[in-house]
């Protein structure tokens, strides 16, 4: 008397290969075996599979297999272990190094120094300003003079004239030779007028104009 459910033909014929190789669990084994006893198709199939399995087992028992040669695998394992050991020894060295607080401090200091140097060596983002004589410049509000000197007057002569008049170059000369001049600090408004008039009268000055406020 069986205790299991009868197995359908489709289920049983599907499992015949594993009945033949004797890997079915006990319950499945008896269910498939029982079905095969009563089913002509499965019985025939089972006989064929058994013959085949016997042939395979017989051939396998006769087969000559090469002796295990572990030289290559051992070489690979040696390499693997060497790699692992080298990694471990580096870690151990690092671990030893950091046991001393002085060494930790030294390492931190060195790292900080390297970081600062690195930052310092970075290219600056600020672009240098490119200024030409025609680049518009805004001067702070004040009293200025726009002057064109005699072209025959050399640089030293201009400097002497400006010293005498207590003036300095705020801007220029422009493309057309116009200087914008600033009065020295402490020069009163009357003195400024006097200096301007004196320059107008000076033969070395071809043109003079007073400018008040912001100069561009």
């Amino acid at each position: 008397m069986t205790t299991h459910e009868p197995m359908s033909h489709d289920q049983a014929i599907e499992l015949l290969p594993w009945l033949v190789n004797e890997s079915l669990q006990a319950e499945e084994h008896s269910a498939v075996s029982e079905h095969a006893r009563n089913c002509v198709i499965c019985r025939r199939e089972l006989e064929e599979l058994k013959v085949l399995q016997q042939s395979i087992d017989s051939a396998a028992s006769q087969a000559v297999l090469p002796e295990p040669d572990m030289r290559r695998i051992n070489a690979r394992i040696d390499q693997d272990l060497a790699r692992a050991n080298s990694g471990a020894s580096i870690l151990a060295a690092i671990n030893d190094f950091f046991r001393s607080p002085w060494r930790v401090a030294f390492a931190v200091q060195t790292l900080a120094l390297v970081a600062v140097t690195f930052v310092w060596l970075q290219p600056r983002d600020v672009e240098p300003e490119f200024v030409t004589l025609t680049t518009p410049q805004t001067l702070p509000a004040g009293q200025y003079l726009r002057v064109v000197f005699d072209p025959m007057l050399d640089e030293a002569g201009v400097a002497l004239l400006l010293d005498e008049a207590r003036l300095s170059i705020a801007k220029g000369p422009s493309e057309r030779g116009v200087y914008t001049l600033r009065f020295a600090e402490g020069v009163s408004a009357d003195q400024q007028t006097g200096i301007a008039n004196g320059l107008r009268a000076d033969g070395r000055v071809l043109f003079l104009q007073t400018v008040e406020g912001t100069v561009k």
């Binding site: 890997s23 042939s55 006769q62």
Partner: protein
């Protein structure tokens, strides 16, 4: 763990022993690895030789499989047989080898015939090798693992990492195809023999 042994006490002891060996391998025990290698090398060699034509490549793949065993032993969770785990690695390595260029192709019919004949295999086995060579890799694997390695369909599902029904379906189709192929191959072989005579 495979045919006939799965239920016996000896098989259970062997399985426990293999678990211990693998645990020792995970602790980098070379002696344990050597023992495991000597146990599995012949089985893997036989299995892979039927899957991959070139003997030199077979030896390389066996070593590749066992090297994975060495490196990944600590990843083995113990919820399957060691044998299934190792053959699972071999299965994937074999598929990779088969998917590679022509030199990795499955044995041709004539090669399979020579191979089987050289082993003194019966004629029907010779034909089976020739027929297997014409199956898809997935179908051939299921037949190989069942008839040649003695695995249960559950173990094959673990090895191939697929549902058990897929294993049954693959086997069903493989058997049906072999039933068509084998008489044809037998006929061709008969004609060849007559021609030689």
């Amino acid at each position: 763990m495979g045919r006939k042994n799965s239920k016996s006490d000896a098989a259970r002891q062997a399985a426990a022993s293999e678990h211990s060996l693998l645990a020792a391998v995970a602790r980098r025990d070379r002696a344990a690895f050597s023992e495991l290698y000597r146990t599995y090398q012949p089985r893997l060699h036989g299995y892979l030789r039927r899957m991959v034509a070139n003997v030199v490549i077979v030896e390389e793949v066996v070593d590749d499989v066992m090297f994975v065993v060495w490196t990944d032993a600590k990843k083995f969770r113990g919820n399957s047989a060691v044998s299934s785990w190792i053959f699972g690695i071999a299965y994937r390595k074999a598929l990779t080898a088969l998917r590679k260029e022509g030199r990795y192709q499955a044995p041709l019919v004539s090669q399979a015939g020579e191979h089987a004949a050289a082993e003194g295999a019966p004629a029907d086995l010779e034909l089976l090798h020739a027929g297997l060579a014409q199956l898809s890799a997935d179908h051939r694997q299921v037949v190989e693992l069942t008839y040649f390695c003695g695995y249960s369909y559950q173990e094959i599902a673990e090895i191939a990492q697929c549902p058990v029904n897929t294993v049954k379906t693959r086997m069903f189709h493989a058997r049906r195809r072999l039933k068509l192929l084998l008489p044809q191959l037998a006929g061709e072989a008969g004609e060849q023999n007559r021609d030689h005579a």
